[in-house]
């Protein structure tokens, strides 16, 4: 694993994606929406693949969605993460799919189709991520 970094890798924030990462720091999970045809998309990209418009805005996600697929990572153990590390692909109610961690669930209880909700968590200085929990 090379150097024993205790920090998570920071994402690249550029003209295409800065809104997403800044939105998380501001407490909002923002999804790109085409300004011309309304198609929503994630991860961010500059051009709408449906209509080729460069105009876009954002909608704030409720953070609610449904598990589409998942894995529970056991090995290798990469610092600073805790293991097992459950990762879910979630179909958000706003119509896009997003990958992130799932916390607080017994790995044996995770299932496709479960309802989840994202909490925006300051995982380290200047890095906020959506972290899913099983919806109550």
């Amino acid at each position: 694993m090379g150097a024993k970094s205790s920090q998570r890798i920071r994402p690249v924030e550029n003209y295409d994606s800065a809104h997403f990462w800044q939105g998380l720091r501001d407490g909002k999970l923002l999804i790109q929406e085409c300004g011309a045809c309304g198609l929503r998309r994630h991860p961010p990209q500059p051009m709408c693949e449906q209509c080729q418009s460069l105009d876009w805005t954002t909608v704030e996600s409720s953070g609610r969605g449904t598990i589409y697929s998942y894995t529970v990572i056991h090995y290798p153990e990469i610092p600073p993460f805790e293991y097992p590390n459950a990762i879910v692909l979630v179909d958000l109610d706003e119509g896009v799919r997003l990958a992130s961690q799932l916390r607080g669930a017994d790995p044996d209880d995770i299932a496709i189709g479960q309802r989840v909700i994202a909490k925006l968590v300051d995982v380290q200085d200047d890095l906020t991520l959506p972290v899913f929990e099983i919806a109550p």
């Binding site: 694993m1 090379g2 998570r8 890798i9 920071r10 994402p11 690249v12 550029n14 994606s17 991860p43 693949e49 589409y68 697929s69 998942y70 894995t71 529970v72 990572i73 056991h74 090995y75 290798p76 990469i78 993460f81 097992p84 590390n85 990762i87 692909l89 799919r97 990958a99 992130s100 961690q101 790995p107 496709i112 995982v123 890095l127 991520l129």
Partner: protein, 393 residues
């Protein structure tokens, strides 16, 4: 059946180093050794090499390999993106360049210390440059600790289980079959070390549902090929293997090893998209294919490939495997070298070499009378596939 044209691409030489966990030499030396062996196998002097092709994540410059094998002038050089998905890119490029008369002799190589050097499975960062497209792409995964190919492909495997009812035991039977082939292949890292289904089920969990024995190896080694025209191949004292059909495929849902956004990620839709074209170009049907090397970074990836290429119906691949059809003596033996699970992980190229041996009749696990074979590149990435045939077939 399609006719061989004079400028059709024919593989006339294969070369490889030993496969190990620590080669003790540079990747450049590995690439040069395998390339020299391939040229010797073909009986072609390095001076005739006027094209070179490799693919991404190879750390050797084309010009360095070309110079050292004795090359004089490169008229054509290319490098394909997307890691293991690019394994057939060089063959596709050679096929096009030869047909267009752009060059006469193409050297293809891949040399890597992927075990003793940078391990793809370790979650290591390959490039922290904020302008690098990999780093931009992986920004949506790495900060969550979602950093390894096993964890990414686990997502598709989980969906396949959900859609079609496949189980970990079904994945295990694929591992057992490949380790059986490896056990009788002296070049394989797992030579004389077969496993049982119990061994698979008792192997540690890596990224649920993938266990250790579902994962390919990490290997040091190199493989190389010499490709020329059918016209030139007829003058050589070798059994040529013609590229009957080859193509690459990327779709709007394709991503760099993270194919999470399609409508149905249980499948690798690139293979579904390519299969019909390849059979049509080759003038063949699934029943004509005698042996296959299907990309096996992880065992579950074999299942949708068997379906895409028509060896069984969609959703029935687990039963097809359970019935022994991909194993020794089966209807379509898969990865008779032991695959990347049993022989070595040389990013797909050792599978192409095994297909060449099968069609020459020189595999240690020879399928009797093999005339036509299928080989695929990486699953879950922009990829490629090819049908190779004996020159005379």
């Amino acid at each position: 059946m399609s006719r061989t044209t004079d400028r059709q691409a024919v593989i006339v030489g294969i070369g490889a180093t030993e496969f190990s966990k620590d080669s003790g030499r540079t990747e450049l030396r590995l690439a040069c050794e395998a390339s020299r062996s391939a040229l010797e196998d073909a009986g072609i002097p390095g001076a005739e090499v006027d094209g070179v092709s490799t693919f991404s994540m190879d750390n050797n410059f084309e010009i360095d390999v070309h110079r050292q094998v004795g090359g004089h002038e490169l008229r054509f050089f290319s490098r394909t993106e997307y890691g293991g998905g690019a394994a057939l890119g060089p063959f596709h490029h050679a096929y096009c360049a030869l047909a267009a008369g752009q060059c006469q002799t193409v050297l293809i190589y891949r040399g890597m210390n992927e075990r003793s050097g940078l391990r793809f499975g370790g979650g290591q960062i390959m490039n922290m440059n904020a302008l690098n497209p990999d780093m931009i792409h992986f920004s949506h995964y790495f900060p969550s600790g979602f950093m390894t190919p096993a964890s990414w492909i686990a997502m598709t495997a989980r969906r396949y289980m959900h859609e079609y009812g496949a189980t970990s035991e079904d994945f295990g039977r694929i591992a057992v079959s490949m380790r059986d082939f490896a056990s009788t292949n002296p070049a394989a890292f797992y030579y004389e070390r077969p496993i049982t289904l119990d061994d698979h089920q008792n192997s540690r969990m890596i990224a649920d549902p993938l266990r250790l024995f579902d994962c390919c190896q990490e290997s040091d080694g190199a493989v190389a090929f010499v490709v020329t025209t059918a016209e030139r191949a007829r003058d050589l004292d070798v059994d040529g293997v013609r590229i009957a059909a080859v193509r690459q495929c990327a779709l709007p849902s394709s991503r760099q090893v993270t194919p999470f956004y399609g409508d149905d990620i249980a499948r690798f839709p690139e293979f579904d998209a390519m299969a019909g074209d390849l059979y049509e170009t080759a003038g063949l049907q699934p029943d004509d294919i005698d042996v296959a090397c299907l990309y096996d970074h992880f065992t579950p990836s074999i299942l949708p490939q068997l379906e895409a290429f028509g060896f069984c119906k969609t959703g029935e691949a687990a039963d097809f495997v359970r019935d022994g059809h991909i194993s020794r003596g089966g209807r379509i033996p898969v990865n008779t070298n032991g695959g990347q699970i049993g022989e070595a992980y040389i990013h797909g190229l050792n599978g192409v070499a095994e297909i060449v041996r099968q069609l020459r009749g020189t595999s240690v696990n020879q399928v009797a009378g093999a005339d036509h074979a299928l080989v695929t590149a990486g699953a879950g990435v922009p990829t490629g596939a090819a049908i190779l045939s004996r020159m005379e077939a």
